[in-house]
Subunit: 356 residues, 2 copies
Amino acid sequence: MEKRATIKDVAEAAGVGVATVSRVLSGGSASPRTRERVLAVAAQLDYRPSALGRNLRQRRTGGMGLLVPDLTDTFHAQLAEGVLACARSAGEPVLIGSTAGDPEQEAELIGMLLEQSVDRLIAVPTGDEDTWAPALRAGMTVVFADRLPARPSPEDDDPAAVAVNDLRVLDGLSPARPAPVRALDVPSVVADDRAGIRTAVRYLRGLGHKRIAFLGGPGHDRRAAAFGEAVGPPVDEDLVVFGTGSRDSAYAAASGLFQSRPDLSAVVAAGNVLGEAAVLAARELDLRVPRDVSLVMYDDVPWAELCAPPLTVIAQPGRDMGYRAAELVLRSGPRRPRSVVLPTELIIRGSCGPRR
Amino acid sequence: MEKRATIKDVAEAAGVGVATVSRVLSGGSASPRTRERVLAVAAQLDYRPSALGRNLRQRRTGGMGLLVPDLTDTFHAQLAEGVLACARSAGEPVLIGSTAGDPEQEAELIGMLLEQSVDRLIAVPTGDEDTWAPALRAGMTVVFADRLPARPSPEDDDPAAVAVNDLRVLDGLSPARPAPVRALDVPSVVADDRAGIRTAVRYLRGLGHKRIAFLGGPGHDRRAAAFGEAVGPPVDEDLVVFGTGSRDSAYAAASGLFQSRPDLSAVVAAGNVLGEAAVLAARELDLRVPRDVSLVMYDDVPWAELCAPPLTVIAQPGRDMGYRAAELVLRSGPRRPRSVVLPTELIIRGSCGPRR
DNA sequence: AATCATGATGGAATCGTTTCCATGGAGAAG
DNA sequence: CTTCTCCATGGAAACGATTCCATCATGATT
């Protein structure tokens, strides 16, 4: 275990000041002669600047944070791979956290990133805008991917709560009541959910399906809204069900849906975990796909093709989304685009058939 | 964007010295009276110690690194979830990197972690022992998961290379020739590959299969060896093929295997990506599973059950492996166990049948 | 030849924390 | 009453980089 050379060692060995070494290494101005000698000495000593000193001085940790609900959801894994690919090519480290779809854990992880002074963050958000307010207020550059945070629950505008806040302000110890931070102002990279869902619904309609169900999870509000829009009013609310994020709850939701509404003939699953659950639940209930029920799943994952039958999917470019999000968060210029919307594609395989 | 309170602010507001604040917050000795006041003030100022200062002072970044070949490999995603779960409950950050099965990228990521002064690392290694020497020599606490690095290629013991090294030592600028670092001394968490493979081979033998092939990827040497042992000599070398890690190469390897050896009747795939490739290749070649060819796949992944037919698998506890590895790397006591071997389980579904 | 502009250079401050060490006071033991 | 011990406490020195600023040399301009 050998200890690493510091900038001081390099400076001494090269007979120059530390400031000069720093300038040479970070591309500042220096005479060719000095530059050459410093570089030579640095190479000989195998000097690598410590991120620790730099971070402290600049009061920020380089790299970026990445928060996803669950890596075993293949789509999130694809997205993460995209982020990692971009970060790798930029030489930036990535701090990752998995929120398990729980706003509380998400808030904790945000706190941890704040403590680490990570000021760039890519997130597939789970909590609502209130969960994200601390991060934004702290000046983090946030990019949302795949989804946007929901609007906060109204209880926080409760007059009583305001009163409490005001009292604490008068106390002089608590920070002033924060200005509301709109997550809407945060750039994002999402798929064109409206078009994706609309295409899927039209496709199913074209096959003769009338009673189409929607199976969603946390964060799929946009897709649910798009679904409602696509099927058009009146929306049969019983045909729109949600799981809470775990595989178990997805299965329960799918199974409950099939049992409570035997009249449905097609299902749109808003994510691959939900699609998986739908296939399992249908099989358990002896519903055959696509004879008894047609299925369209969000996310094109490698195993969709291996399924029996191969699943018709709404593909969204997970890896690209991650890569683009990482690019956005790295080049956080002022003329940053508000949000990037990537196209989806309906890939027809074998899980949809005509209405029986 | 409000700036965070520092320890100095807390000290001033509480009327004590910074040393006292630090002690109170990190559990040192202090009078109850002072402790109470410091805690109260810290809470009121919403003070959170910056990891930056602490890291620099302690010359180490907290948390741990995690290096996996590919997150879209569901097994690695499970493993990563295990690591994240343990890290979360310990409140430690995780720096993640994906190596794409490329030793060079792995070496780069190790360098990046070194630069960040991350001194704890969990890795599903891709490169050989030489790739890992720098990390170990720098004093990193490394835990390997799922696999161990291969022995280095012999060219590095080339006398010429030694001579060059010696010259550089005489030069007085290069570090002394490093003592060889055996990856064998590094703790690890792996599945009981020998038992897993043996069970699978015996099962296939029991179904009457004689010509059993092995389909592996990078890092599957142990499994390949276990396979050779299980089928017993003489091993038909043509029945043992390897892909390079990507899905394309896995598909090519599987397809090539089926085409070059139409006489084989069963395949053991050493990982889920390879199993996926085997299913696709078989389908493309109109080989039916399990009628024409039986398949056992390493890794129990959620989609194995959705496959047509559902895949018989050698299950290994990916999430547990990650969790245990994280525990090991965090409690790096001297009486750390050398290595943890977790059991595998053969889960029989529908992808194996009697020899046709 | 004197003055000015330019650019290279190094010393020192700084970032926020932990930790070493000296100091002071209180209580115990003599 | 004295001395000794122990503990709480705060000042200051690290940690390793970046960056401000003053200095100095060189070459150009008047």
